[in-house]
């Protein structure tokens, strides 16, 4: 499996990662090598095998009661935010 520069640019865009011109050829090489390495899975006999998503297959996902369990800690949490105003997280303008 060999990826092109264009493929890597596309993957980086899907992942919302800025990749510099200098980094691009490095990722073309290493991602191609990784995909070639994992392609050996294609030879494994998996006809009729169920995919395994989770190690404890029998476990049922719990639901909790729909009631308030947390206290309001907004200020504490927002102390880690890069930009807030009046309790709101600030981002660049989305709608003109």
């Amino acid at each position: 499996m060999t990826l092109t520069r264009r493929d890597v640019e596309n993957i980086a865009h899907l992942a919302r990662l800025e990749i510099t011109e200098a980094e691009l050829p490095v990722y073309v090489g290493s991602l191609s090598a990784i995909l070639a390495f994992v392609r050996q899975l294609a030879a494994a006999p998996t006809e009729g095998v169920e995919p395994m998503a989770h190690p404890l297959e029998g476990q049922v996902q719990r639901l909790r009661d729909d009631r308030v369990t947390e206290s309001d800690r907004r200020d504490r949490y927002q102390a880690n935010a890069p930009a807030v105003q009046a309790g709101l997280y600030l981002v660049p303008k989305v709608i003109e």
């Binding site: 990662l17 899975l41 404890l56 303008k93």
Partner: protein, 486 residues
């Protein structure tokens, strides 16, 4: 008083019999960290003030006749566990300014047990690495030889305990990140069953694989710390609601009659000869102790590494989408729009290996490739899991080496991701199947430690720990210190 020659269990006994106070012991380890951390880079943050306050509280607890076996014993947490009011960086520039606003369940429980927090340990960025060289805070050095890596991703915790800058430390293991560094630094490293320990407040890497555990000096220490940190937690949806046994009480169980499966696939090409010889000798010693050895084949196990390098990156690409420069962590300067904010924040905040894994995961989940890569890997994961189930129908535990070689040189494998990934060839299987596994020191090759791995069925930590303890009663590999830190 030489607290660095004592295990956590021994320190706990010394504290309860008032041979020394927790404040004295804590000051001793803080001094040791102060002297040695410059060379080892094992700690990202040292919480000296908090440690002394914790210690004073523990002393008061002990004076009142309260507190269990770990009261007043210092420890270090891997910097992946959120710690209220303390920098929790996960080894990344992305979180280099993140002061956690709450405690992870692991932190909360070990604090409640009276343990004293010395600091937060260095690690591969977001736990992605096998050598502790991907950390934003620089590599950690192996106390046995400063030119070698300590393993990863819990490399800081491993170096800290190996050099006895802390009696015990927490770690996390997604593909070997507790057992591999434990093997490379001469420690006892336990990865519990998936779901045994709460992951609440533990920064997520690959959610179907991640599990918290312990890097310790002995199976007894691992048993005590696991008991204190394990158990049901409604805040983690994968936490299993099952009683936590008194692991320490079960340690003396004899290995007579124990059926040990020797994994044939773990002794093939790629296993360094000295490592193989030490592990074989250890397994033979179990026979001398009355265990029965059985040759076992797990034919799909060689597919573990490629399976892991589809599943883990896929899950990481999803988990790490939360780092967007909006609510916490790094943010780029002067974003011109929202896409620019995301792309530059993530491009600047993540290191090269993390970006590589996010992109691998994005690719294998993308339209047109999902079936060929992700779904296929999940099916192979079923085959690997079935191999383990079949093996455990006829044996009690499985044994083999933890790593193919002892610690390697810093920089030796950073140029080639696949060579680095193959370090975890013997450890990944237990993560894919969610099994408990431990690495115990079983020899030295050219002055570097070698680890024996013991894997058990789901929730058989008692059995795995008892086998490790039986080995440690017969040998003293776990009591050897790196010469520079003796």
């Amino acid at each position: 008083m030489n607290p660095h020659h004592a295990t956590a269990a021994e320190l706990g006994r010394g504290l309860r019999t008032r041979q020394y106070s927790s404040v004295e012991v804590t000051r001793f380890f803080l001094d040791r960290i102060h002297e040695a951390n410059g060379a080892l880079n094992a700690f990202i943050t040292v919480t000296a003030e908090r440690a002394l306050a914790d210690a004073a509280r523990a002393d008061a607890m002990i004076a009142r006749g309260e507190g269990g076996p770990l009261a007043g014993v210092p420890l270090a947490h891997k910097d992946i566990f959120c710690t209220d009011g303390v920098l929790t960086s996960c080894g990344s520039k992305m979180l280099a300014n993140f002061v956690a606003p709450y405690d992870a369940t692991v932190v909360e429980r070990l604090t409640a047990a009276g343990m004293v927090l010395l600091g937060k340990t260095n690690m591969d960025e977001f736990a992605m690495g096998s050598s502790n060289e991907t950390s934003h805070y620089g590599p950690v050095r192996n106390p046995w030889d400063g030119s070698k890596v300590p393993g990863g991703s819990s490399g800081g915790s491993a170096a800290a305990v190996a050099a006895r800058l802390a009696p015990v430390a927490t770690g996390t293991d997604t593909g070997g990140s507790i057992r591999q560094p434990a093997a490379l630094t001469g420690l006892t490293g336990l990865k519990p069953t998936y779901g045994r320990v709460s992951r609440y407040g533990m920064i997520a890497f690959a959610s179907s694989l991640d599990q918290a555990g312990v890097l310790a000096q002995s199976a007894e220490d691992a048993a005590l710390v696991l008991r204190a940190m394990a158990g049901f937690d409604e805040r983690d949806s994968t936490s299993v609601d099952a009683a936590v046994p008194d692991y320490a009480a079960g340690l003396d169980r004899s290995v007579r009659g124990l059926r040990i499966g020797i994994i044939r696939e773990f002794f093939g090409e790629g296993l360094e000869s000295g490592t193989g010889a030490a592990v074989r000798a250890a397994i033979d010693a179990f026979r001398a102790m009355g265990a029965e050895l059985v040759d076992v084949s797990l034919p799909s196990l060689p597919m573990s590494v490629p399976t892991y390098y589809v599943v883990a990156p896929a899950e990481c690409s999803s988990n790490l989408s939360r780092f967007d420069g909006v609510r916490f962590g790094h943010r780029c300067r002067d974003p011109k729009d929202l896409t620019d904010l995301y792309q530059r924040t993530r491009g600047e905040g993540f290191g090269a290996e993390v970006k590589r894994r996010i992109m691998t995961g994005t690719y294998v989940l993308s339209a047109g490739y999902y079936d060929a890569y992700y779904l296929k890997a999940q099916k192979v994961r079923s085959l690997i899991n079935a191999d383990f189930s079949r093996a455990f129908a006829s044996v009690d535990v499985l044994m083999g080496p933890t790593t193919p070689t002892p610690a390697f040189d810093l920089g030796a494998k950073t140029g080639d991701p696949i060579t680095m990934y193959l370090n975890d060839i013997y450890t990944i299987g237990a993560n894919l199947a969610g099994l408990p596994a431990i690495s115990v020191p079983c020899g030295l090759v050219d002055g570097l430690p070698v680890g024996l791995q013991i894997i058990g069925p789901h929730f058989s930590e008692e059995r795995v720990l008892a086998a490790a303890h039986a080995w440690q009663r017969e040998t003293d590999w776990h009591r050897r210190l790196p010469p520079l830190y003796a």
